[in-house]
Every structure is written in C-alpha cells, then in structure tokens.
Symmetry: C2
DNA sequence: AAAGGAAAGTGATAATTTGGAACTAACCTG
DNA sequence: CAGGTTAGTTCCAAATTATCACTTTCCTTT
C-alpha cells in the first residue's frame, strides 16, 4: 500500500459519534457522499452542478479530506485528474445507513418548516436524471 | 399551541439529506442529541461537562436552534430556566437510527486513524456514569 | 505541432462562524 | 438578604466559508 497521510484530524473524544462528526460533521461532506451513492461516480465539475452549489475551494478541500480518510477514491488511481471521477470506497459505501436514516428523518420531521422537501426516492430520481450523462456510464 | 418561530433556516435544496444537514450538519448539534439519548434529560451545565467541551455561546445557540426546530424541548415548559433540563421531543427521538448508524460506521471505519475510538455501548456507559447524578433521576 | 477549450483545481479577499474567556442576570438556600 | 449556582450574553480573536477570478493541464482539432 502506498503512503497515505491519514488524519491531521483533532479527535475531540473517543466517542464514535463525536469522531464521526469530526470528519463528516459539516454541511458538505455528506452531500458529496450522497452524490456518489446516487451516481456511483462523479467528476469535479459534476459535483459543482449539484443543486446545493458547493464552492470550488470547499469541494477541493473536502475531496482531499474524504480521500485521506479512505471514504472516497479516484476511479483510476494513477491517471491524470482530467475526467478522472471519484467514487466511494468500501468504507464510504457503509455510510448508506447514515444517509438513509438522515433522509428519512428529514422527510418526516422537517416538512412543517420546509414544505417543499421531497422524499429520498424523489431526490434520487432528480439527481440522477439531471445529469444522466457520462459519469453514470463509466461505473 | 403557543407561537413558535420555526426556521430562519435557508434551505439549500429540496433534498431531504441536504435539508437535514442544513440543521444538523455541524460538529455539535448531534452531540447534544447524543447526550439526551444517553441521559434522557440534561441541564445546560451538564452539556458543558461532556468530554468534547462545547463553548457556552455555541451551546446556547444550538439549544435555541434545536428547540425552534422541534428536536428538543424544556422538561418543564413554563418554569424558570434554572435546573430546567432539556429533553428530546418525539422528532428528536427519531434521530436514534441516525446516531446509531453514524456511531457504528465510525467504530468500524475510523479505528485505523483513531486507535482510541470506543464502541457506542462503551461510550454510553462512560457518559452515563461520568454524570449519573441528578439529571438521570428527574427523567 | 500549435491553438483552443474545457476540466480540475488554486489563490486572494471578504463575510460569516467559531472558540475562549469574562461577564451578567436570575434564582434558590441558608 | 447575602452568597453561591445556573443559565445564559457579550466581546473579541481566530478559523472557516463563500465569491470569484485566475492558473494549469491535457485533450481535441486543424
């Protein structure tokens, strides 16, 4: 295995929930993971097109962090960045239950304050079809 | 039902995952929820004593936000703040699956970068016994 | 082989949020 | 009714996020 610098993370405690939040506890990281669940692979510019409109520097920062933590990886590890999409690792795929539980909670509990909220299944459909072009193919 | 100002939240999209993160997507909110799952009720100063050491201004801010979103509430709605603990609402209790999934993921996937991480069950034991005093009683 | 274009980032700077510490207000309690 | 506790606020410095222009690389086209 090649060298990977794991973690400049400052773990706040030994608690697994706190530690998960040390990595994933922000508004963007799990959205990157969500996109990869839905589309399997995703290029840099495709991430930028998701409806939440992540800033490019934050995207670059999160992709680096998630890669260093082994949650995502390049589809083609040692080929140039251009059109070299990202995908979930085994570890990343294991986040499925977290995303499903969060999405389900939000759909049933936030509707009053956020009337336009849609179900996970609808969200998946939307994200998939909005960009059903190349990256869904090279999976 | 009395007036509650729901949400000054800016929803980034209609996606339930993104919307959940609009509220809970930070390093602290779910830790407050975690504490309440473990201890059932929790006072302001007890939250401050949790091992991650949240700053008091952020705590106040998050308690206000989670209350306004109906995730937590005062145990004794119309009595003075002093010793008036917080607890989960029905909505808040439904976050259990999110926390469990996150904790499980972290325990199995972060151990390499965070060797001291402990299991959820151990974390629960620790938090419970570290402050098994009053607030676990008035539940 | 050079020109052009698009994709993947970087960098500069402004706005917002966080974190730490001290401070205040309200209330029990003796 | 004095003193200590508890639940916050306020202030300010530091870190993070957002906006947006810029650079670089490499792929295609001629």
């Amino acid at each position: 295995m090649a060298k990977k610098k794991k973690s400049e993370i400052e773990w706040r405690s030994e608690c697994p929930i706190a530690s998960g939040l040390d990595i994933l506890g922000d508004k963007w990281s799990l959205l990157i993971v969500r996109d990869l669940f839905i589309c399997r692979t995703r290029t840099y510019s495709e991430f930028c097109e998701s409806p939440e409109k992540i800033a490019t520097n934050i995207l670059a920062n999160r992709l680096k962090l998630l890669t260093s933590m082994g949650v995502i990886e390049r589809v083609d590890v040692d080929r140039p960045a251009r059109n070299n999409a990202y995908r979930l690792t085994k570890s990343g795929k294991e986040l499925r239950k977290v995303l499903e539980a969060l999405g389900e909670w939000s759909y049933t509990n936030l509707r009053e304050s956020h009337p336009d909220i849609i179900s996970i299944d609808t969200a998946i459909e939307l994200l998939k079809t909005s960009r059903a072009t190349k990256s869904s193919l090279n999976a």
